[in-house]
């Protein structure tokens, strides 16, 4: 009996993907974002003579949205996994994507060949190594798919993509509103405090916006302040 739910959705994995940085510059970072030219280090060599080979590669941000930042500030260290083309010896890794559970297939990332995330190559990088280097953002379906695959890699248990998506919906809605906040020209760092303020209008008036994100994303969006006027001459 095969899997009872698919490992990849029919919907696209990516919200946006590009060859060069920077995609969606107004969108706050999220788990699953892919960055280019990230220096990755692995501890190798012998016990008596360890070495630290350094390689520059694409990498996927693996931190949970609640842990990759604190308040409005990004954590100084970020966990990433290597993103690379499928190796020759991995040929045969294809739909329905069963087996090679350490790999997450990135359909749609590269037109010429299949690229994958390798969960066995996890590195910690300083946050400055990622700044302005984002080349891909996952879609909501892509994020749920990543969670399913990574959960299976780590725990050997998983839920359906839809279940992961439903559990993360509140964070997806928050990110969308946060992006709109930045598109309107407001400072990214000022969103979290605004998000924790009480609603001023509508059926949820008086309740902090963070508490009603699932029931009232439309009401929250309606309360977004307009773009600030351009600076005078």
């Amino acid at each position: 009996m095969s899997s009872s739910s698919p490992w990849l959705p029919e919907e696209p994995l990516f919200l946006e993907v590009a060859q060069t940085p920077e995609v969606r510059p107004h969108r706050p970072w999220n788990q699953g974002d892919i960055f280019a030219e990230v220096p990755l280090a692995i501890t190798a060599g012998s016990k008596a003579n360890p070495t630290v080979p350094l390689r520059t590669a694409c990498a996927m941000l693996m931190g949970n949205p609640c842990s990759l930042r604190g308040g409005a500030s990004l954590a100084a260290l970020q966990n990433v996994a290597e993103v690379r083309p499928l190796k020759e010896k991995e040929a045969g890794f294809e739909a329905p994507w069963e087996g090679r559970w350490q790999l997450f297939p990135l359909l749609g990332f590269n037109d010429d060949q299949l690229w994958v995330v390798d969960f066995n190559v996890m590195c910690t990088v300083g946050v400055k190594q990622l700044t302005h280097r984002r080349i891909a953002c996952l879609s909501e379906h892509g994020w749920g798919t990543l969670q399913k695959r990574y959960s299976n890699h780590v725990f050997r248990t998983h839920a359906s993509i839809e279940e992961h998506m439903a559990d993360s919906r509140r964070y997806w809605l928050e990110l969308s509103i946060w992006e709109e906040w930045c598109v309107r020209g407001h400072r990214e760092s000022e969103f979290p405090s605004w998000f924790r303020e009480a609603m001023t209008d509508g059926p949820y008036a008086g309740t902090p916006r963070v508490d009603v994100i699932e029931m009232g994303p439309d009401f929250i969006t309606a309360e977004l302040p307009p773009a600030p006027p351009p600076a005078g001459p």
Partner: protein, 273 residues
Amino acid sequence: METAPLATELHSAPPKWAASEREHELPFAWSLGGVMTIDGGLVLPEAGITETVTLNAWAPPETRILSLTNYCGYAPLHRLGDVRREVKGLVVRLVSGFMMFEVECRPLDAHRDELLFTATPPAPATADLAREVRDLSGLSAARLAELFPVERETYQRWITGSPPSSANEERLLAIRHFLRELTHRVSNVRTWLLAPLVDGADSPSAFEVLKGGRLAELWDAIADLPSTAGRQTYVASDGSTLTELQGSRRGRDLRTPEEELDDYAEWLGDDGE
């Protein structure tokens, strides 16, 4: 044919199951445990015999529910060789992760030799969504309408196929996700929704909290309750034995406070701007 000996209720066929000359295909979305299928159809038992079949742990749940709900709109007539049978009674009863239905069969009129289906047009997915929220909660349409807020008639129209706004569809999806998990955690969803959330005469009910939009508060309220959600173990094509969990894995919204962020200077050194 194997059957699961579980008792359930048998209801008369809904009035909308009227005879019709219109053909309509209705493949089953899944195999029935213990029941053979022929070209996706249901192998019916001997006339006059009521059989009960239990479907266990389907996934994804919404697909099965939608398919079976649509099926309720049909009175399928299957030809099995020279034997013709009519499904007389079909009911879906959702019981904590299981779907149970009974099929009562009787011989057809010998002159009716066509494969006929009687159907109302399939309802949109949002109709099933609104209906599922009503069925899971045990609340009336009037009560549920307060959550959006809309008029009672509006919620009823959602059930009959009138699409809600995208914002209200978002609310329906959020409520459904919560209610599905709630069914794994409490024995009576309706009672839990209408009871005070915490002990004390001044405590609002869960319904009132939900009416105030504070769905996260309800998720926190059930976070510590044990779940009856199951798990399904299966063998993947590479031979691995995997486990898919049912139900939500949602935890509390624990965000790292900004003051707890470490600069890891011992690793990064003085990386001033």
